[in-house]
C-alpha cells in the first residue's frame, strides 16, 4: 500500500521519459552521417516508446484502481468522498527516488487516492523550494492513458502518412525555387518522429507535473515542440511564419502565466499543488501546498472581515487539519483578494494562449501548416487541451470572478470559432476552428462550475477530434495533398473506411443521440454535461443567461458545419474529376488507427454521467465543487452544485439534441440534398461572409495593434542607439566646427578616434586650443607678463579670507 505511490510514480515516469529517450536516440540516428533515409526504424522505435508508455499508464491505472479498491467507480457522492481524499493528501510522501515513505500516525483507512512527491530539487533558497514533483490522481491517470493511447494511434497512422518522406530526394510541390522548379530536399522521416517523441515527453510531463512551475516548464516545451512541428516544412514560408506566430502568441499568454506565477510565488512561497513533505532528521516537516492554503479541507475560502484579504491556511494541527495562523504569528500568510483574482487571471492567460481561446485564438488555424498527424495530436487532442487541463488542475485557486471570466471567454471562443468554421473551405481549417470552438466549450464548462463536465469534454473531444483529423489526413493523403473541400466531393465510394469513420466523428462532435435511450455518441454526453451546468448556472445567476444560450446556439452551428464538411467531402459529385480519379483509400496502418479511434469516439463516454469515465474524472474533483457556491453573501456569482446540475440535465439535454438535429438538417438540405444553393446564401450575406472568412478580422487587428507597433518601437530603440547616443557626438563635432570656425580640414583619422560626446566636445576644445599656440615668440613673451599680472590679481581676488 505504501509503495503504491512509488509504483505509480515509477510507472508514469517510465511512460513519461521513454519518449525522451526515443527523441535522443532518433536525433543521434538522424545526425549520423550514413543514416538510412529509407528505413522506418525511427517510426517503429517511436511507436515502441509511446506504446510502451501506454502499457505503463494502463498498468498504473490498474494498480491505482486495485490500490484504491476501485473506489472511484463505487463512489456515489463525489463531494463526500473527496473530503476523505483530501484528508489523506497529507500522508503520502516520497522524496526523491528513494523508497522511503512515512506512515501516517492516524488515518489508515479510507485508502489514499492522491499521490504526490518530489523527483528532485531544482533549487532551494532559504524556505523557498523549487522542485520537479509529481501529482497523481485519477485525472492524471486518465490523461496519461488518453494521451498515450491517442498518441500511439497517431504514431501508427503517421508511419503511413509520412511514408513519402522515406526518400533521399523529396520534392516539395508547394515550394518553388527561383528558377521555377520545385524544391528538392532529403526526406525527413526521422525528424518527424523525433519531434513527435519529444512532444509526447513534454505533454506527459505537463500532465504529471506536481507544481505549477513544472507545468510552466513543460508548457514551454510543448510550445517549442508545437513550433518545431508546425514548422516541419521549414522551406515553406507560410509554415515557418505560422510556427513563429504560434510560439509568440503563446508567449503572450505566457506573459500572463508568468505574472500569475510571480504572484503565487511571492504570496504563497510555494508552487506545489499538494502539501510538501520533508524529512529533516527525524522530524517530518509538512508544508502546505497551494490548494491547502487557499481551500483547506472543506473548500472554503477564508476571508478577512472586510473581504479584501484572503487568509491562507498554512498551519497544521495535530489532527492534520490546516488552519489560518494567528495574526501575531510571523508565519501568517495572506493575499489580497484582488491579487488572487489577478493571479488566477494570469494563469488563465496562459491557458488562453495554449488553448487558443479568445482573443489569442488566431494562431491555431495557421498551425494547420504542420503535417496532419501533428494537427491531430498536438493541435486538437493534447497540447491545446493542456490549457483546459491546467484550468481544471488549478481549479481550487480560481475564485468565482475568475471563473466568470473563464466562462465568458470560453463562450465567446466557442461562438467565434463555430461561426468562422461555417465559411472555411480548407478541410483542416474547418477542423481547426471546430477545435477552437470545442475548447471554448470546455472552458465554459469549467467556468460555470462544471469541473467534471469540462474535463469530460476534454477527453471525449480528444478522441473524436483526433479521429477526424486523422480522417482528414487520410483524405489529404488520398487526394495528393489537396486540402480544399471545394475540389473534393463524392469520396465516399473511393475511401469508404475513411468516410465512415469520419461520419462517426462528425456525429460524435455534433452530439447526436437517440432520444429517450441512453445510446448516444460520446460528444452528446459531454456536451450535455456542460450545457446542463450552464443552465443550472444561469438559473442561479440569471443575468448571465448568455452563457447558456450562446453555447446552445453554437451546438447547432457545430452540427451544421461538421455535417457540411462531411457532405462536401464525401457525398455529391466529384468537383475535380482529375483529382477524383487518383484518389485511393489509405493503407492499413492509416485506417487501422481510424477504426480504433472511431470506436473510442463513439463509445468512450458510455453511460454519460454515470459512466466509468465521468466517475473516474470527477473522483478527483476539487473539494467543495460538488456543493456549489452561494455567491449572494459575498456579492459575487454563485456556482451550481451537483444537485442543481443534475436537475437541469433533462432540459439541457433535449435542447442540445434539438439544436444538433436542426443543424444537421439544415446542413443536409444545403449541402447534402442541395435544396438551397450555398453560393446564393454567400451572395445574400456577402458582408457577413467576408467578415467570417476574414476570421473576424483578428489577424489584421493584431497586426495593427501589436506587431507593427512592436517593430516601430524596435526600430526606434535601435535608432536611439544609432542616432542619439552615437550621434550626439557628431552633433558636437559639427557645433565645434561652427563655433571655432576652424577652417582647417578635419582629419578623418582624428574624427575616427574620437567617439563619444565627451570626446568630441573636448576634441573641438582641444583643436581651438591650438589657436592659442600661435608660434609668435613675441606673443609668448607677452603672455609671461600678462600671466604674472593675471595670476597675481586672481590670487588676491580669491585669497582665502580669514
Amino acid at each position: 500500500m505504501e509503495s503504491l505511490g512509488n509504483k505509480l510514480s515509477t510507472l508514469l515516469a517510465i511512460a513519461w521519459l521513454l519518449p525522451l529517450f526515443g527523441f535522443v536516440v532518433e536525433v543521434f540516428a538522424m545526425s549520423w552521417p550514413n543514416a538510412n533515409r529509407k528505413s522506418k526504424a525511427a517510426a517503429y522505435f517511436a511507436i515502441f516508446c509511446i506504446g510502451f508508455g501506454f502499457v505503463c499508464s494502463s498498468i498504473a491505472f490498474y494498480e491505482w484502481g486495485e490500490g484504491t479498491d476501485w473506489a472511484a467507480f463505487k463512489a456515489v457522492d463525489h463531494g463526500h468522498s473527496e473530503v476523505a481524499n483530501a484528508a489523506e493528501h497529507g500522508e503520502h510522501a516520497a522524496t526523491g527516488h528513494d523508497d522511503h515513505e512515512h506512515k501516517a500516525a492516524t488515518h489508515e483507512t479510507p485508502k489514499r487516492t492522491v499521490f504526490s512527491g518530489t523527483f528532485y530539487n531544482l533549487a532551494q533558497f532559504g524556505n523557498l523550494k523549487l522542485s520537479l514533483d509529481y501529482y497523481i490522481d485519477s485525472l492524471t491517470l486518465a490523461m496519461f492513458v488518453m494521451v498515450t493511447l491517442i498518441a500511439t494511434c497517431i504514431h501508427i497512422f503517421a508511419t503511413g502518412y509520412m511514408a513519402e518522406e522515406l526518400v533521399d530526394d523529396y520534392v516539395d510541390h508547394q515550394v518553388h525555387t527561383h528558377d521555377g522548379g520545385h524544391f528538392h530536399r532529403p526526406g525527413r522521416f526521422y525528424k518527424f518522429f523525433s519531434y513527435m517523441s519529444l512532444f509526447c515527453f513534454a505533454m506527459l510531463g505537463l500532465v504529471l507535473a506536481g507544481n505549477i512551475f513544472q507545468v510552466f516548464i513543460f508548457w514551454e516545451l510543448v510550445g517549442i515542440c508545437s513550433y518545431l512541428l508546425i514548422g516541419f516544412y521549414v522551406e515553406r514560408h507560410s509554415a515557418s511564419t505560422a510556427a513563429n506566430k504560434a510560439f509568440i502568441v503563446n508567449r503572450v499568454g505566457d506573459f500572463g502565466f508568468i505574472i500569475g506565477l510571480m504572484i503565487l510565488w511571492t504570496s504563497f512561497g510555494t508552487f506545489s499543488f499538494d502539501d510538501q513533505h520533508e524529512v529533516d532528521g527525524n522530524v517530518n516537516k509538512v508544508t502546505a501546498g497551494l490548494f491547502t492554503m487557499v481551500r483547506g479541507h472543506d473548500g472554503h475560502l477564508d476571508r478577512s472581515s472586510d473581504g479584501q484579504t484572503v487568509l491562507l491556511k498554512n498551519e497544521q494541527d495535530v489532527n492534520g487539519e490546516w488552519h489560518v495562523r494567528k495574526e501575531s504569528d510571523p508565519g501568517r500568510k495572506t493575499i489580497t483578494y484582488t491579487l488572487l483574482i489577478v493571479a488566477g487571471l494570469g494563469v488563465f492567460g496562459g491557458c488562453v494562449g495554449k488553448s487558443a481561446q479568445f482573443p489569442l485564438q488566431t494562431w491555431l488555424p495557421d498551425a494547420m501548416e504542420g503535417p496532419t498527424p501533428v494537427s491531430a495530436l498536438v493541435h486538437s487532442a493534447t497540447m491545446v487541451a493542456a490549457g483546459v487541463y491546467l484550468a481544471g488542475r488549478f481549479y481550487p485557486m480560481f475564485v468565482p470572478e475568475v471563473l466568470l471570466t473563464i466562462a465568458y471567454v470560453g463562450c465567446i471562443t466557442a461562438f467565434v470559432g463555430a461561426t468562422i468554421a461555417i465559411v472555411a473551405t480548407d478541410i483542416k481549417k474547418v477542423l481547426a476552428y471546430s477545435t477552437i470552438s470545442q475548447l471554448g466549450y470546455m472552458m465554459l464548462g469549467l467556468g460555470v462550475g462544471g469541473w467534471g463536465a469540462g474535463l469530460f469534454h476534454l477527453v471525449t473531444h480528444a478522441c473524436f477530434k483526433s479521429l477526424m483529423f486523422l480522417c482528414s489526413g487520410s483524405v489529404i493523403a488520398g487526394c495528393h495533398h489537396e486540402q480544399e473541400m471545394t475540389k473534393m466531393g463524392g469520396l465516399l465510394r473511393k475511401m469508404p473506411i475513411t468516410a465512415l469513420t469520419m461520419l462517426v466523428g462528425v456525429m460524435a462532435i455534433a452530439g447526436l443521440a437517440i432520444p429517450g435511450t441512453s445510446i448516444a455518441f460520446s460528444g452528446y454526453h459531454s456536451k450535455d454535461a456542460i450545457l446542463a451546468t450552464a443552465l443550472a448556472y444561469t438559473k442561479l445567476n440569471p443575468i448571465h443567461f448568455l452563457l447558456f444560450l450562446v453555447p446552445l446556439l453554437t451546438a447547432g452551428i457545430t452540427s451544421f458545419y461538421m455535417f457540411r464538411l462531411w457532405f462536401y467531402t464525401f457525398l455529391g459529385k466529384p468537383r475535380d474529376q482529375h483529382l477524383h480519379e487518383h484518389v485511393h483509400e489509405s493503407p492499413w496502418e492509416m485506417t487501422g488507427p481510424l477504426l480504433l479511434l472511431a470506436v473510442l469516439a463513439a463509445g468512450c463516454a458510455i453511460g454519460g454521467e454515470d459512466g466509468k469515465l465521468f466517475k473516474m474524472l470527477t473522483f478527483s474533483e476539487p473539494v467543495g465543487v460538488g456543493q456549489g457556491v452561494d455567491g449572494a453573501a459575498a456579492h459575487t456569482v454563485s456556482l451550481p452544485g451537483h444537485a442543481a446540475i443534475h436537475a437541469s440535465h433533462s432540459t439541457a439535454g433535449s435542447a442540445a439534441l434539438l439544436a444538433a438535429f436542426i443543424g444537421m438538417s439544415i446542413s443536409y438540405l444545403v449541402y447534402g440534398k442541395g435544396v438551397i444553393n450555398p453560393a446564393d446564401i454567400k451572395r445574400q450575406a456577402a458582408s457577413v461572409h467576408a467578415f467570417l472568412a476574414n476570421k473576424w478580422g483578428f489577424d489584421d487587428l493584431y497586426d495593427v495593434m501589436f506587431v507593427k507597433p512592436a517593430h516601430v518601437v524596435a526600430k526606434f530603440a535601435a535608432a536611439i542607439d544609432k542616432f542619439v547616443f552615437d550621434e550626439i557626438l557628431h552633433t558636437f563635432v559639427r557645433m565645434g566646427i561652427a563655433v571655432s570656425k576652424w577652417d582647417r580640414k578635419f582629419d578623418e583619422g582624428v574624427i575616427d578616434g574620437i567617439v563619444n560626446l565627451m570626446g568630441n566636445s573636448t576634441y573641438s576644445l582641444g583643436i581651438s586650443l591650438r589657436n592659442v599656440q600661435t608660434g609668435k615668440i613675441r606673443q609668448y613673451v607677452t603672455f609671461i607678463a600678462v600671466s604674472v599680472v593675471t595670476l597675481f590679481v586672481l590670487l588676491f581676488a580669491l585669497y582665502p579670507k580669514g
Binding site: F125, N127, L128, V234, H237, N244, D254, V755
Partner: protein, 537 residues
C-alpha cells in the same frame, strides 16, 4: 604544490607562462603555436576543475585564501581567494577560453601575437575573479583592457578601430570612476574604528575587511556609501553593460573576431556583474539599498530596450549583441531586488532576494554559455559567406543541417526554453522581482514575448525557408569536425545547466546567503541620515 591556496595563483599565471613560452616559437610554426596555446587553456581549465575538488560545499565564506604583502606601505596585499561566486565564474571563464581557443583556428593574421594576447587576457580575467584586494582587483581589471584593445583593433572587422577605441574609452572611463571609489574607501578605512578590523593603521584595500566594515555600519558614512556606490556601479555597469552605458557593446561585438566576441560575451560581461556582487554591494550596502529601485529599473529597461533593439537589427551579430544587453539586464534585476521594510530596515522577503541573486548568478553562467554559442554560430556562417545580413540568409537548415540544429539549440537556450540553461536564470530572476516591485516585475515579464520575437524571427530568416539568398552560396559547406566539437562543447552545458541547475546553486547559494545576510545587517547598522536628524530634534 596544488593546494587550494596555490591553485588560484596557478590558474592566474599558467596562461601567462604559456604566453611567455610562445614568444620563442618560430614564426612559421603556426599550427604548433595554436596547439601550444590550446594546451595552455586546457591546463587552466583542468586546474579550475581541480579547484572545484578543493571547494567545500556548504561554506559560504572565502576559501583557499592567500595573502602576501605586496606594497606594504599602502597595505596592499597580493590576496587571493574564492567562494562559490567566483568559483563558478572561474570555471565558466576557463571553459569559455578553452572553447574560444578552439574557435581561434581561423585566425591567420599575426598568429603569435594573437595567441599571446589571448592568454594574457585570460590571466587578467582570472585575476579579477580571484582578487580579494581592491587594488589587485583594479590592476587585473585594467590588465584585461590592453589585450582586448588589440584583439579587437588588430583582428577585428572593417570598423575595428572605432570599436576598439570605443571599448577602450568606455572601460577606461569606468575604471577611473572605480579608482576614485577605491581611494574613497582606502581613506575611509583609515579611521581608528576601522583599525579594530584591519589590525593596522592606515587604510585598507582588503575587500573582505572593507565589507566587514561596511557591515558594521558606523565606519562608512551614508554619504560615502552612496557616492561610492554610484561610482562603483557606473564603473561596473559599463562592463555589464546596462542601459544607457551599453553602446560600446554592439560595436565591439560586431567588429571583434568570432572567438573574441565569444570571450566578450561569455566572460567580460560577467566581470561587471561580478564586480557589482563582490564589490559594489558589499562595500556600500546603504548606497545599494538607496539605489535599489533605480537598479531594478535600469535592469528592466535593459531587458526591454535590448530586446527591442535586437528586434530591429538586420546584422546577425549585432542582433546577438543586443540580446546580450537584454539578457544581462536580468542579472542586474536579480541582484537588486532588495526590498526592505520601511520601518525597521530589515530585508522583506529575504528569500526572494536570495533567489534573485542566485538567479542572477545563474543567468551569468547561462549567458556565459549560450551567448558565446550564439556568437560562434554567427561566426561559422560568417566565415563561409562573409556577410551577416539577416535578410540575405535563408535555407541554411537544408544546406547545413547539423549546423542549423546546433544553432537552433543554442538560440533556444538564449530564448529561455526550459531544459536549456537560459530558462532557469531568467525565470528565477523574474519570479523574485514581484516581491520588490509589481510594476517592474510585470514589465520584465514582458521581455519573454520580445525575446521569443527576435530570436524566432532571426531563426526564420537565417535557417528556414527554401533557399539561401545571399552572396557566396558556393562557399556553404558543412561544419568541420573542429566546429562540430566546439558546437557540442557549448551545447552540452546548455542542457546540463538547464536540467540540473543545482550544478551552480550548490556552489553559489551558501556564498550568496552569506552575502545577503551581510548586506542586510550592513544596511541596518548604517545610521540613516533622516533618523539622525530625528534624534537630534
Amino acid at each position: 604544490m596544488f593546494t587550494a591556496e596555490t591553485l588560484t595563483s596557478w590558474i592566474i599565471f599558467v596562461p601567462t607562462i604559456f604566453a611567455f613560452f610562445l614568444v620563442f616559437f618560430e614564426k612559421k610554426a603556426v599550427e604548433a603555436m595554436r596547439v601550444f596555446a590550446l594546451a595552455g587553456t586546457v591546463v587552466t581549465f583542468f586546474l579550475s576543475l581541480a579547484l572545484i575538488g578543493q571547494f567545500t560545499v556548504g561554506d559560504g565564506g572565502m576559501q583557499g585564501k592567500i595573502s602576501v604583502p605586496w606594497i606594504a606601505s599602502w597595505n596592499i596585499n597580493y590576496q587571493l581567494g574564492y567562494d562559490g561566486i567566483s568559483l563558478t565564474l572561474v570555471v565558466l571563464s576557463a571553459f569559455v577560453f578553452l572553447v574560444s581557443m578552439l574557435a581561434s583556428w581561423g585566425i591567420e593574421k599575426h598568429v603569435k601575437g594573437y595567441l599571446i594576447l589571448f592568454l594574457i587576457l585570460e590571466t587578467g580575467v582570472m585575476g579579477v575573479f580571484f582578487a580579494l584586494d581592491f587594488f589587485l582587483f583594479y590592476v587585473f581589471w585594467e590588465v584585461m583592457l590592453l589585450p582586448m584593445y588589440f584583439l579587437i583593433g588588430v583582428w577585428g572587422g572593417p570598423r575595428r578601430e572605432y570599436a576598439a577605441i570605443k571599448f577602450f574609452l568606455y572601460t577606461l572611463a569606468g575604471g577611473v570612476l572605480m579608482l576614485i571609489a577605491l581611494l574613497m574607501y582606502y581613506f575611509g578605512s583609515a579611521t581608528p574604528e576601522a583599525m579594530a578590523i584591519t589590525g593596522h593603521s592606515g587604510g585598507s584595500f582588503d575587500l573582505l575587511k572593507l565589507a566587514e566594515m561596511a557591515q558594521r555600519g558606523d565606519i562608512f558614512s551614508p554619504g560615502l556609501q552612496v557616492a561610492g556606490f554610484i561610482l562603483l556601479f557606473i564603473g561596473f555597469a559599463i562592463k555589464v553593460p546596462t542601459f544607457p552605458f551599453h553602446t560600446w557593446l554592439p560595436d565591439a561585438h560586431v567588429e571583434a573576431p568570432t572567438p573574441i566576441s565569444m570571450i566578450l560575451a561569455g566572460v567580460l560581461l560577467k566581470l561587471g556583474g561580478y564586480g557589482i556582487i563582490r564589490i559594489a554591494f558589499p562595500l556600500c550596502p546603504y548606497g545599494a539599498q538607496v539605489a535599489a529601485y533605480a537598479l531594478v529599473a535600469i535592469g528592466v529597461i535593459s531587458i526591454i530596450y535590448g530586446a527591442f533593439a535586437a528586434l530591429a537589427q538586420t546584422d546577425f551579430k549585432r542582433m546577438v549583441a543586443y540580446s546580450s544587453v537584454s539578457h544581462m539586464g536580468y542579472v542586474l534585476l536579480g541582484i537588486a531586488v532588495w526590498k526592505i521594510s520601511e520601518v525597521t530596515g530589515v530585508a522583506e522577503g529575504r528569500d526572494y532576494w536570495l533567489m534573485g541573486m542566485n538567479g542572477a548568478m545563474f543567468q551569468m553562467i547561462a549567458h556565459g554559455v549560450s551567448s558565446p554559442g550564439m556568437f560562434f554560430m554567427v561566426g561559422v556562417i560568417y566565415d563561409r559567406v562573409h556577410h551577416r545580413d539577416l535578410n540575405q540568409f535563408g535555407g541554411l537548415s537544408g544546406l547545413m543541417p547539423n549546423y542549423s540544429g546546433m544553432a537552433a539549440v543554442i538560440f533556444f537556450a538564449g530564448l529561455g526554453l526550459p531544459g536549456l540553461c537560459g530558462f532557469i536564470g531568467e525565470v528565477f530572476v523574474v519570479l523574485s522581482a514581484w516581491n520588490y516591485s509589481k510594476t517592474l516585475a510585470i514589465v520584465s515579464a514582458g521581455g519573454v514575448i520580445l525575446t521569443a520575437g527576435y530570436i524566432l524571427w532571426a531563426l526564420q530568416r537565417v535557417y528556414l525557408g527554401p533557399a539561401y539568398k545571399g552572396p557566396h552560396p558556393e562557399a556553404i559547406t558543412p561544419m568541420t569536425s573542429r566546429e562540430q566539437a566546439i558546437g557540442w562543447l557549448l551545447i552540452v552545458p546548455c542542457f546540463v545547466l538547464g536540467v540540473y541547475p543545482n550544478f551552480v546553486f550548490n556552489y553559489t547559494n551558501d556564498s550568496l546567503t552569506k552575502l545577503v545576510d551581510t548586506l542586510d545587517s550592513g544596511y541596518q547598522n548604517t545610521p540613516k541620515p533622516n533618523s539622525v536628524q530625528t534624534t537630534q530634534k
